[in-house]
Amino acid sequence: MNKNLRITNNKFIDQTSRISFKFDGKTLYGFKGDTLASALLANNIHLVGRSFKYHRPRGIMACGSEEPNAIVQVGNDASMTEPNTRATEIELYEGLEASSQNCWPSVNFDIGAINNFFSPLIPAAFYYKTFMWPANFWKLYEYFIRKSAGLGKSPTKPDKDIYDHRYLHCDVLIVGGGISGIIAAKTAAKNNLNTVLIDDKNILGGTTLFQENECFKINNSYSNEWLKKEIETLNSLKNLTIKTRTSVAAYHSYNYILARENLTDHLDLNEKKDKIRQRLWKIRAKKVIIATGAIERPLIFNNNDRPGIILSSSIKKYIDYYGVKCGQKISLFTNNDSAYETAISLSNSGVSVNSVVDIRDKTNSLIVKQAEKLGIKIHWKSTVVNTNGYKRINSIEIMKLSDDSSAVVGKKIKEECDCLGMSGGWTPRVHLFTQSGGKLKFREEDNVFLPDKSNLEQISIGSCNGDFELYEVIKNSASSTNKFLNVKNIDYENLEIISSKEMDKKNIWLLPSDKPLGKTKPFLDFQNDSTANDVKLALREGFKSIEHVKRYTTTGMATDQGKLSNMHALGIISETAGVKMGELGTTTFRPPYTPLTFGTIVGRNVGEFFDIIRKTPIHDWHLENKAEFENVGQWKRAWYYPKENESMYDAVQRESKAARDSAGILDASTLGKIDIQGTDASEFLNRVYTNAWSKLEIGKCRYGLMLNEDGMVYDDGVTARLSENHYIMTTTTGGAANVMTKLEDYLQTEWPELDVYLTSVTDHYATISVCGPNSKKIVSKVIPDLDLSDSNFPHMSFKNAKIDKIKCRVMRISFTGEHSYEINIQSSYGKSVWEKCFEAGKEFNITPYGTEAMHLLRAEKGFIIAGQDTDGTITPVDLQMNWIISKKKYDFIGKRSLYRSDTIREDRKQLVGILTEDPKEVLEEGAQIVADTNKKPIEMLGHITSSYFSPNLKKSIALAVVKNGKKLKGKKMFVPMENKTINITITDTIFLDKENKRLNA
């Protein structure tokens, strides 16, 4: 550490606790409370990165989130490294490793810097213009451009850090813990409002915290001393929650605010472990007070980007707060009074101030007078026309401004310096206000955009609302807060405030130089390397909209989102184009205000919490029996049960065969189940299904097809009539929630007159399906009291029964075409009943089968799966299921759509069966079907929707939708694949047991 650059009497940095860190591989030292930026400056390191396009050496320019240049890569672990972080926002911790970005091989010797010498050849939109042709070369161009451009390195392994989310509801949220925010917070909390105050720094106080100047006093104390006492009183307020190291990322409508809290980033490496690194607060505030302050503007002059050129207020913070001198011989360049505060602070700390270059003619405010009293030299009506020094500024060139300020006159003065502070005035931070939908107004007097109209319960106070003088800030913040919260806090009335008032204002967006514009480099956007010349070029080339100029020149599009550059770009555009700034408007400020890590956005929704997982009551059995699982909606369903070394194909073949040869058992608990009660239950079913329900006998089941109002198949399932006015409906696994919502919708909105109540009971029941020729023997062992004879218990009926003392419902329905039973029992007993069935079935080689075998088995029977064989464009007529459409019913959902001109077309795609010429050839689902491969372009007639090798038929079978398919039975067609063409024949959809003999076998 360079001792000369630290002043020792500093109050904010603990100079007894030394911290070691690494920058670009070199071990350096700083103190607890430093940022990486302040520690680097204390080590006399200004050069920290290279610019994006020209690879110019760049240094620290600011002290907060607006920093455009000092962006670094933190950490070098493949899973923990983080690119594009601002050195000005990284709190120093033991073990910190950071490195420069965008330079190779090193920040000191960067090969890309050759671009700087060619910079006249790389104007705005150079890449767009040059690499347009020929179009197919882009692949090549992109590779090289990406190699030489780009910012930091992305981590290559999953992030090991932990992030989470929290919701927070409050009466008043105050964003910004500077003097205004503190006044507002105290006012709100004292009046019993549940208040939250957040600030992105590690302590409250903003810039007033270190404002110790004769020109700013409150009740005879320095403003910082007064504020310190205010902060102390905050800590005793009950209703107030203070969150530091928390920055608002987004401000959405309805006062919904996302804020990122840094919990461990400032901790030593060994203290971070197993703690939440960052927390995203999702805040709902009844009222929001924005007190985000202002950003100091740079000045736009030739070579204004060299390391050592720093915003004047940042130099002040480095000396007054961090105790770090940014240089030994500092010059200042300004168009307003604030640089004089910096000059006084530096002078009081023993740093020699060369001079202040001020573009104004002369001004006599309190603070300027004080500076003059300290003997600080001032160049009035002057500008800096050039700076020198490649990796660190070493001198500036000063000239007088002409009377109209459009040019420079007289002799050039060269002044040696190792640091230049610049101040171009202040830009209120209105980003959050505009994010929330607020409209801005323009104040001509000092060229600022200010909050105007908003639809939300919010106000802006302090300098983000255009109050820059201490006196105004206190008075207006207090009165606006009182009015907004409808309270009366008199703490801030009758204060005796001394506050230097700025008396003269002058602004020149692009300062004149002794060289012509084409020969200078006045940077606007430091990170993206766009200059004032680029913006002017864009205007000459015909761009008018600021949004277009922004994209064309990339001004304001870097990771800092133009926090420093936007105003000047607007100023130069308005000047050049002759449009008033207020009419020009601004570009849109979009969230996040500062970049967020993906981890913060995702929170704990990673790994097992990435998506919701639903499990059946029998899930553990499937696990114990080595099932592979398939995601169906949010459910984990047993897919197949491979035996040792068995492939999926072999397992599915074995399971499918066993189910038909003897017995299979399937966990069908995921099917949606809806309990329907009410005197109009039958009428309701008549209206929602295509077939008729009134005559269904109690104790019987019926298959139903549900359409959308557009006539397309939506869902299907079996419904059982439990009593006169009581049914239980089953839906598909994936459709359950949507069907329930849809049915409720009709009941509540279209048919409120119907006396029908729906209750979801999906999770109440475990559903165990036992199928196959031996299923009857197995079920009779499990439920010996139940008469399973075909006469008592025929296909499509159900029986209530008990297993031990627990009620169950046994349904004789079949999705495989086999004789089968579905046992529905309360979920808590599901696994036990399953095991009982399995035990009882052992002598019959009962085989658990998964969803894949189930799909295969039903395809053999030509049963559809809604959502696989249908896709929202298929009517029941297309499925050749005319038998299920009641002719007698006057109306049902989707009925009218079945005879629209489009749905009655003969040549719609219709469901057919497909057999391959080679019975071993299994088609790919989704493969296209064609009739003529010679005619180009080949007409695609349809596609395969389901395809399997059937172990029971010993051949390949498939279902498909084919144009006019109904009439094409027996016709030979083709499925062209990448390397071959497969010959197929269109057939009937039912491949096995057309006579339904097996159902009663």
Partner: protein, 91 residues
Amino acid sequence: MFLINCPYCGERDQSEFSAGGEAHIVRPKQPTELSDDQWAEFLFMRKNIKGIQFERWNHAHGCRKWFNIVRDTRNDKIHAVYKMGEKPPIK
């Protein structure tokens, strides 16, 4: 993210709700009497207004009731919330 004042449960976060499109489109009582064009008008034609819009919403993760809202699509402000079957309180 809106805050929606469910007419039954009170003010809740938007994530508890699902949107159901344009409000006040009544399913024809006698669909069979309608021409293809008339049926298509009911089935497909929806307004997409920049300004005041009447919408159906469902408190899907709460009381599961459907209701209507009046929303200004320019700023997402919800001007009124009312139950199914009720007349819109704003024109």
